[in-house]
């Protein structure tokens, strides 16, 4: 019994010593979406948040065309947990990314409409991100669509 207690205390000590410093709570939400034009090299730049992202991969994933980014603009917003939501006109999906070392890694690809979004826009509705497209709107999280948000999905879901 005595040995068990010593082992338990030892484990607690080791766990405590290895724990990572965490600052909380942290809110990463952007108040409004950024609408960023894609340049000739496929890059978008946001001066307010000082970020620069290459979107060639995003457009290729959506349209399977490496030049489909030309003349487009990307709509982007960040939720309170720090996930980036990106979409654009004619996209069928909303892409959710999380940051990694010098990259944005896909967290979730949320299928929205088989016919593509016509005039998509993001609104910050903590803790959700609201996706608006004409008369339709729905709430999203980095995990997907919040089912009771009243969005009528067209053409099935992924």
């Amino acid at each position: 019994m005595k040995r068990l207690i010593i082992l338990f205390l030892f484990l607690i000590f080791i766990t405590a010593a290895c724990s990572v410093l965490t600052l909380q709570p942290a809110n990463f939400s952007w108040p409004i979406e950024s609408v960023l034009p894609v340049d000739d090299n496929g890059k978008v730049t946001d001066d307010r948040y000082s970020i620069e992202i290459n979107t060639v991969g995003l457009f290729f994933d959506e349209f399977q065309d490496s030049l489909s980014y030309r003349g487009k603009e990307v709509r982007m917003i960040r939720d309170n947990q720090g996930f980036y939501f990106m979409t654009a006109s004619n996209f069928k999906n909303v892409y959710v990314f999380k940051t990694d070392e010098g990259t944005l890694k896909l967290e979730k690809k949320i299928f929205i409409s088989e016919f593509g979004l016509q005039t998509p826009a993001f609104n910050q509705r903590n803790p959700y991100i609201e996706l608006v497209d004409g008369a339709n709107k729905m709430n999203l999280t980095h995990k997907g669509i919040v089912e009771d948000s009243g969005f009528r999905r067209e053409g099935g879901s992924k």
Binding site: I32, E33, V35, A121, Q124
Partner: protein, 413 residues
């Protein structure tokens, strides 16, 4: 009637509710719309050309603030770096600043209007004073009372002309801002603005009147070097300011023959003014001699002045045997004691030499001539004193010799 109004209002509310339910609005769209309206109001404030136009903007600010009050929270978060209230504070400050500009313009316009009136008044007053001075100057016999009156009038006229000159200089100054003067080429808008300002205040005409009055003042009065120095300074100041603006006015009126002619006249008047100031010194010197009954041959420069004095003294020397001694001495006294040593040498000589109107050689030549004249009138009797001294010395020597010889004869006895 009331029912009709209520029906309309209800219909409007239904339509609005329906519309808002059909079109979900993007926050970004609200913010962008706000920014566009805000920028438009900012532009209206900057572009307003009258206070009335600016006052309309105040209503726009109020409408914008009321219209977006419901989105205050969103705008607080989205506007960067300012927030909702700060944005309106900025807009209100810009409005007040612009309002201040209009108030300043209003004050300046009033000042310019007053300036014009003052110049017109002074032009008339100076003219009257000049006529009075001229009348008094023309009186051959001037008693002490007239002289005093003349002096007072001249002082009043000088001060009045000076005052008007300052006002006209202000007009020249206000014709174009310094930044415009530094421009290599004026734009059409600049030219139009300058031409309109010039026309409004009759600047060219006032500049001409000012120079003419200054010329008349100099011609009508007999001035001292101190006055002339002051006039020279004033003239320099005027010329400097005119040169800066005048060159630009030539550009403004390149295609207006009448105005070009007027600008030429102003240049000629400036030259005449400079000549008259120079000439005035000689005129005043002639007057000084004349006041003491000495009529010299006219002169317009140092060389002629020297020759004139030289000739006058030569004539006097020639007349020494012809005129009575008393008369010759009286002329000398009037020339030398009452004029030359009383006013020309102490008052004018420095001015003439400093302004390079007379050389040292000329001065020495005239002074030698005056000395020669004096010697001819009052010959020096040094040789008489020498003879007297010689006689005294010889007498003394003889006296001592005689006294020495006397004891020797006593011894032999």
């Amino acid at each position: 009637m009331k029912n009709n109004y209520l029906t309309k209002l209800l219909l409007l509310l239904i339509v609005l509710g329906f519309t808002s339910s059909i079109f979900a609005q993007s926050d970004r769209e609200i913010v962008d719309k706000f920014k566009a309206e805000y920028t438009s109001i900012e532009k209206s404030i900057k572009d307003a050309t009258t206070l009335q136009e600016l006052n309309l903007v105040l209503d726009e600010i109020t409408i914008l603030k009321q219209g977006y009050a419901q989105h205050k929270e969103l705008l607080d978060k989205s506007l960067y770096p300012d927030k909702y209230d700060e944005s309106f504070d900025k807009l209100n400050k810009a409005y007040l600043l612009r309002q201040g500009d209009f108030s300043t313009i209003d004050v300046l316009q009033t000042e310019v209007g007053e300036l014009k009136q003052q110049v017109e008044f002074l032009n008339q007053r100076n003219n009257e004073l000049l006529v009075q001075v001229q009348k008094l100057e023309d009186q051959k016999q001037k008693d002490a009372k007239t002289i005093k009156k003349l002096e007072n009038l001249v002082a009043e006229l000088r001060s009045s002309i000076r005052e008007r000159d300052e006002l006209v200089l202000s007009m020249i100054d206000s014709l174009m801002p310094p930044t415009m003067r530094d421009k290599e080429n004026l734009t059409i808008e600049d030219k139009d603005m300058v031409a309109s300002e010039e026309k409004k205040d009759n600047v060219l005409s006032n500049v001409k009147t000012t120079i003419r009055d200054n010329i008349r003042f100099i011609q009508a009065t007999s001035l001292k070097p101190k006055d002339l120095e002051s006039i020279r300074e004033q003239q320099k100041d005027f010329v400097t300011k005119w040169q800066k603006v005048g060159a630009k006015l030539v550009e403004v009126y390149a295609e207006d023959e009448d105005k070009t002619e007027e600008l030429k006249q102003i240049d000629e008047l400036f030259n005449e003014w400079a000549t008259v100031v120079k000439q005035e010194a000689w005129e005043s010197i002639i007057d000084e001699f004349s006041l003491n009954g000495i009529e010299l041959m006219g002169f317009k420069n140092g060389e002629e002045f020297t020759n004139s004095v030289d000739m006058f003294i030569d004539d006097e020397l020639k007349n020494l045997g012809v005129k009575s001694d008393e008369e010759s001495k009286r002329t000398y006294s009037q020339f030398a004691d009452s004029t030359w040593f009383a006013s020309i040498q102490p008052v004018w000589m420095n001015y003439l030499i400093e302004n390079k109107m007379l050389t040292d050689d000329n001065k020495n030549k005239m002074e030698s001539k005056i000395a020669e004249w004096k010697n001819a009138l009052y010959p020096s009797n040094w040789w008489i004193y020498l003879i007297i001294a010689g006689v005294v010395i010889v007498g003394a020597v003889l006296f001592f010799v005689m006294r020495r010889k006397k004891p020797a004869s006593n011894v032999s006895e």
